[in-house]
């Protein structure tokens, strides 16, 4: 009960209204996912108290931050949260060190959980301490912004598209740091994004927002595999799978990954060695999965998995259909042409072979 | 296109107008504002010339005249400035004459505040005594001479507030910011009596006479209206009107 973030928010603007009732796990990363204008940033700002929902209740791991039935509204600066904005928004008049220490100094010493050294180490910014914000690259500035939020020892981290303002290489520079936070710190994180790749890589839980309403909410793997949600229609739609490293072939540089479940299939991935037994998240894109009626072992495709059709739906592109598959407990998506679907006479319950062209290891 | 005839008509009218009447530009000391307004109407009626007056301080007019200001006649508040202009050959020789002698008054906007003998000056509990700037304004200089004569210079030193000219001294008193002030009688006098508040008309013996001289400036040398104005100021009709504003002549 106490490890939950609940937010019931209602807000009216001239061109937009928000009406959501969220229940997010009190640990791990929850993504608020949606297009621009879907209300995800407004949700985040309401959680922080930067904006006030007219009728709202916000409860974070047992603490009530807002309850309009009780006229309770905790001012943002009294909420133990950390907020990372889309632009790093460092204080231009302070050095990197003073930016970092801004929140730290304002937290009672017995409540401090993160030290300057830890934060610098976690985000690799120790060498930047004496610099002025204006001299930092976009990626460096955003890492400082994240470290600054951490140093206020938040009990909830909120991030508003922290990578959206950065170009591809800078994004790839920061993602590992975010994954590290996820692994090493036990702070729940609510992460706003409109990028499926980012979400697939980071999130444990996903809320899909459309036009100010929460359309669906659930564990990331389930959400990405659902054909009834707009997520599956996107170009980079696909599923995430959690696997355990079970072997490595040094001669061919192939990594064996066992998916959860008793009869679970084995995935073989071209990848350098990783520790046996370690947990790895992979993404399988729907467009990289093809289907056949029998196990054709003569092709160059590495992974051939026995699956059963759960559901089949037309895609937005009239030439394609989307097929949801069950691989001994793990969900897969396939995007194939409507012609092929008709040729194979695809129907729910049908047993097929899925050929997976490539598997991306996330992180 | 249809504007043309109108413009032409106006231009013709103007030309005709200047053919039989001239305009005289007069620099007038601020204390003489009320009388000159009354005189201007009569002057125009009697001579057909138009009088255009600018009001200001004598010192400022002096600086402006030296720098080419377009005045034909100068009615100063003193006699030293016109004399100086005469020395500098800035006037029509022989045109200088005294058109009025100013009278100083101790005045308060409050009725019954100033007594008939001006004893309030030595006995009153006023906080501010307004005078015109003695360096620039003859009425201010006369006021300091009065205080000197009455041996009140030291006693009133801390109470003096200066207006830049006699008009401002009047303003300080009329708004009540100064309880008392030395002003020109012409400012508070009409038809032989004080129009508002209470006043003591300072005896002429207490200060040097405030001779106000008039001159025709070089610019007005060939302007018939300038000559006409100077002549007009000397007529009994004009002097009677000037006296009714509290001046001697």
């Amino acid at each position: 009960m106490s490890h939950t973030i609940r937010a019931r928010l209602q807000l009216r603007r001239d061109t937009f209204s928000l009406d959501v009732d969220l229940e997010l796990p009190g640990r791990g990363i929850s993504a608020l996912f949606g297009h621009s204008g879907s209300g995800k940033t407004t949700c985040l700002r309401c959680l922080a108290g930067l904006e006030r929902a007219s009728h709202g209740r916000v409860e974070v791991n047992g603490e009530v931050w807002q309850d309009d039935t009780q006229r309770t509204f905790i001012a943002p600066h009294r909420r133990p949260l950390g907020y990372v904005f889309q632009e790093a928004s460092l204080f231009a008049h302070l050095s990197v060190r003073d930016n970092l220490m801004f929140g730290w100094r304002r937290v009672a010493s017995e409540q401090r959980k993160v030290s300057l050294e830890q934060a610098c180490e976690l985000l690799g910014i120790g060498h930047l301490l004496t610099r002025r914000p204006a001299t930092l690259s976009g990626g460096e500035a955003q890492r400082v912004g994240i470290a600054r939020a951490l140093l206020s020892s938040p009990r909830l981290l909120l991030m508003d598209e922290p990578l959206a303002a950065l170009d591809g290489p800078r994004k790839r520079e920061i993602l590992p740091y975010l994954e590290r936070l996820h692994r090493e710190l036990d702070i729940p994180l609510v992460y706003v994004s409109h990028s499926q790749d980012e979400v697939a890589r980071l999130a444990d839980h996903l809320v899909l927002l459309e036009q100010g309403r929460a359309v669906a909410s659930g564990p990331i793997a389930d959400m990405l595999a659902r054909l009834d949600l707009s997520l599956s229609q996107s170009e980079d739609a696909g599923v995430v799978l959690e696997g355990t490293v079970s072997g490595h072939d040094p001669a061919y540089q192939l990594l064996d990954l066992r998916l959860p479940g008793t009869d679970a299939p084995l995935l073989r991935i071209a990848h350098p060695a990783q520790a046996l037994g370690s947990s790895v998240r992979v993404k399988v894109q729907a467009r990289d999965v093809s289907l056949s009626l029998d196990a054709d072992s003569t092709s160059s495709i590495l992974n051939r998995i026995a699956v059963r059709v759960r559901e089949c739906r037309p895609a937005e592109n009239p030439a394609h259909v989307l097929v949801a598959l069950d691989a001994a407990g793990s969900a897969l998506l396939a995007r194939i042409t409507r012609y092929s679907a008709d040729q194979l006479q695809i129907h729910p319950g049908q047993a097929l072979w899925a050929q997976i062209k490539s598997v991306a290891i996330l992180g | 296109m249809f504007m043309r005839p109108t413009l032409l008509a106006i231009a013709t009218l103007l030309t005709i107008n200047t053919a039989w009447a001239d305009e005289v530009q007069v620099a007038v000391a601020a204390n003489f504002t009320a009388p000159i307004k009354a005189l201007a109407a009569d002057f125009q009626k009697d001579t057909g010339h138009t009088l255009v007056a600018a009001y200001g301080s004598t010192g400022q007019f002096y600086a402006q005249i030296n720098n080419g200001a377009p005045f034909d006649v100068f009615l100063a508040a003193d006699d030293t400035t016109p004399a100086k202009l005469e020395q500098e050959k800035a006037i029509v020789p022989g045109s200088r004459f005294t058109y009025a002698i100013g009278t100083l008054a101790l005045w308060s906007a409050k009725p019954d505040y100033v007594d008939a003998k001006g004893d309030v000056l030595s006995k009153g509990t006023y906080k501010h005594l307004a005078i015109a700037n003695p360096k620039a304004a003859p009425y201010g200089l006369a006021a300091t001479q009065v205080l000197e004569k009455l041996k009140l210079t030291e006693a009133t030193k801390a109470k003096l507030v200066e207006g830049q000219n006699i008009t401002q001294a009047y303003q300080f008193v009329s708004t009540g910011n100064a309880e008392l002030g030395f002003v020109a009688l012409s400012q508070i006098y009409q038809d032989g009596k004080v129009t508002q508040g209470s006043a003591w008309i300072v005896p002429a013996a207490l200060h040097e006479p405030i001779r106000q001289d008039a001159v025709i400036l070089n610019k007005g040398k060939d302007n018939p209206a300038a000559k006409a104005l100077v002549d007009y100021l000397k007529t009994p009709k004009a002097t009677a009107l000037i006296k009714s504003y509290g001046y001697e002549i």
């Binding site: 001012a75 907020y83 204080f91 | 600086a63 620039a136 300080f172 708004t175 910011n177």
Partner: protein, 225 residues
């Protein structure tokens, strides 16, 4: 060069400008902050009132101050009731006049500076546990520093250059209300042109240096940001 009364006027002018600037910063900062951030209906009217001295002739301000501060005026009656007496013809009166007269020259640069900061740094500060007052002191004020420099220079310089208002409510009292601009006017009126030249020249040089400071400062800043 300068006689005792000139030096007295210079000293008085500097004192008046300093006191006025100080008061304007104290009064102008909250006012500018409010104007920069409020969404209230009053923003328009109040902003317009603050800007009035920009367009009004100083004589209008002086005339109304003379009436308002006088024994029949609202402020005059208040000061009298408080036992302060009348403030016309006093240094205090000049300070009041100058504060009114130079108000927009301090408030507007501050308002622009606060406006340029925007909402974001204050939101960031709030998420880092800074109370609104804490954010104002440690974030808004330092970020608005260029605005404060401009406001101080303009407020000071504009007060030094004040003439009409002082003329109307000052009373030309040595060491109390006779400031440099009035002293120059006096010299000209009394035909003391040499002394007028010295003082007027000093004002010219002073004003030029002030503006140079502002414009040079601006270029520097543009240089490194």
């Amino acid at each position: 060069m300068f006689d005792a009364s000139d030096l007295g006027a210079i000293w008085l002018t500097l004192k008046l400008a300093s006191v006025t600037t100080l008061i304007l910063l104290l009064v102008g900062t909250p006012l500018a902050w409010w104007l920069a951030r409020t969404r209230s209906w009053w923003r328009g009217p109040i902003g317009a009132v603050v800007a009035l001295p920009l367009v009004l002739p100083p004589t209008v301000i002086g005339f109304y101050l003379l009436l308002a501060l006088g024994p029949n005026g609202l402020i005059g009656q208040t000061t009298a009731a408080l036992g302060l007496g009348s403030v016309v013809f006093s240094f205090t009166g000049l300070v009041i006049g100058s504060v009114v007269y130079s108000l927009p020259f301090v408030v507007q640069p501050l308002q622009n500076a606060f406006g340029a900061i925007g909402q974001r740094p204050l939101e960031v500060a709030a998420t880092l546990r800074a109370s609104p007052w804490d954010s104002f002191i440690h974030v808004a004020l330092p970020l608005a520093r260029p605005g404060f420099i401009t406001a101080s220079i303009l407020g000071f310089a504009h007060t030094v250059g004040e003439f009409g208002v002082v003329l109307m409510i000052g009373g030309n009292i040595p060491d109390k209300t006779r400031v440099v601009s009035v002293q120059i006017f006096d010299h000209v009126e009394a035909m003391e042109y040499a002394q007028a030249h010295w003082l007027a020249g000093a004002m010219l040089v002073f004003s030029f240096l002030v503006l140079l400071m502002l414009y040079a400062g601006r270029r520097d800043k543009a240089g490194w940001s």
